[in-house]
Symmetry: C2
DNA sequence: CGGCTACTTGACATCTATCAACCGGGGTGG
DNA sequence: CCACCCCGGTTGATAGATGTCAAGTAGCCG
């Protein structure tokens, strides 16, 4: 991996975590690297190990018997891959590009979590945040046109990345069209067409592995107008 | 209210909760009743009070600026209305039919929760379960046809009710078509038509305020066939 | 009994899925 | 080093599902 593995495993502890506890947590985990596309764990599998993402991007998804797939999230460095409470994984996870993770034995991690009300509370807040994200996603899946869905996805993605580093132009888009489609409940052709339409409107510009966002922010999403139209 | 308020506030404590702790929790809350349609709290409002549902049905929803609505859940007795950690409500809630709730001061409830690792853990598991529900819902919203969505909704609803009492025939359906539509990301006309179609297939039978489920179970949903077709 | 609200049904428009062809870049093997 | 192939992506034509607009029905409450 060319990138430095600088992302400390903040995990659900975020910044407000006690340095001592953070050190303890780090000692509990072992660093592992997954190549692009590799499955980290699968739905319904026993969750003996649980993972926190330290570098790269993952995709979490559920699969239906007939092969249809729903991507439920694209975790970024610092995110935990699911809740460490259940004894089985509730979704599958794999690496989008090369990723670095911290692996924990679930039993050890649980013991650690329960040893400190502070950590426990952090985990609660993480869970509440995840729930909130899922409910936002419900809103998007239930109400949006393809264009709204794609535009909102791009903005959210940019903002999440910006939260980690400086705003990058172009915004990298490491996942495939199919992943975005399965995230937004659309077909990959629709993703492609919608991106093309947004590009024609001069709202975005597609680049090899990313996208430039011109007139796309929360305000324009809220009003349904793009800066290019104003 | 004609029904007895027999539903004890199990809340996130469920059955495994220590009787002493349960008594303490009950003392913390005050019983309140909301008439049909009344708003319990609204999105973004300060969450000074938080609620557990003891009788009736609620609807939780997010609203977009242009009025579009996404129902994120239909809580049943024993369910908590959201996570008590955030200082603001992340969605609105109102009563579907007359409901009875336990109201807590958030600060007091939080203090209570943090006083006991056992309770804390219960709350965690509740949160994890809520997240799981939301992700199942994502799957449904992203992948299903209208017929799949409605059929799955009916089965899930029946199963949730069955978990509380005996299976009822007909299964009561206290929410409006519009609520179901906003839950499933469809239009109310589509709900109406889809229900009619399922009735013609002899899979369901509509009754004044409920529905009889004939050949509808998890197996038939998985295979895409209904018992009536076999 | 009247009027309101929820619900149903119909006709039509539109969006997205589907099927299919094609393009382009990166990697592999000759 | 070049050619080929494979995979991801784009674009086009078409059909079908659902949204939209509109009218009409049924049940409930005053």
């Amino acid at each position: 991996m060319s990138r430095a593995l600088h992302s400390f495993p903040t995990l659900f502890c975020a910044e407000a975590c006690d340095p001592h506890e953070l050190r303890e947590l780090r000692q509990l985990g072992t660093s592992v690297v997954f190549p692009s596309g590799k499955t980290i764990f699968s739905e319904d599998e026993r969750a003996d190990s649980v993972f926190g993402l330290s570098d790269g991007v993952a995709r979490l998804y559920k699969t239906l018997a007939d092969g249809r797939r729903q991507v439920v999230a694209f975790p970024l460095p610092g995110d935990f891959l699911g809740m460490p409470f259940a004894d089985r994984h509730r979704f599958s996870a794999d690496a989008v590009g090369e990723t670095a993770l911290y692996r924990f034995l679930r039993s050890e991690l649980m013991h650690f979590v329960q040893s400190s009300p502070n950590i426990m509370r952090r985990l609660m807040e993480f869970a509440a945040h995840e729930l909130d994200m899922a409910q936002h996603q419900l809103m998007l899946l239930g109400n949006g046109s393809a264009e709204e869905k794609v535009a909102t996805f791009l903005v959210n993605w940019r903002d999440r990345l910006a939260h980690l580093t400086n705003v990058l132009q172009p915004v990298p888009l490491p996942m495939r069209r199919q992943d975005i489609a399965d995230f937004l409940g659309l077909q990959l052709e629709t993703i492609s067409r919608t991106l093309a339409k947004l590009e024609q409107k001069n709202v975005i510009r597609l680049t090899p592995k990313g996208v430039l966002l011109n007139g796309l922010d929360h305000m324009s999403l809220a009003t349904g107008r793009t800066a290019a139209e104003v």
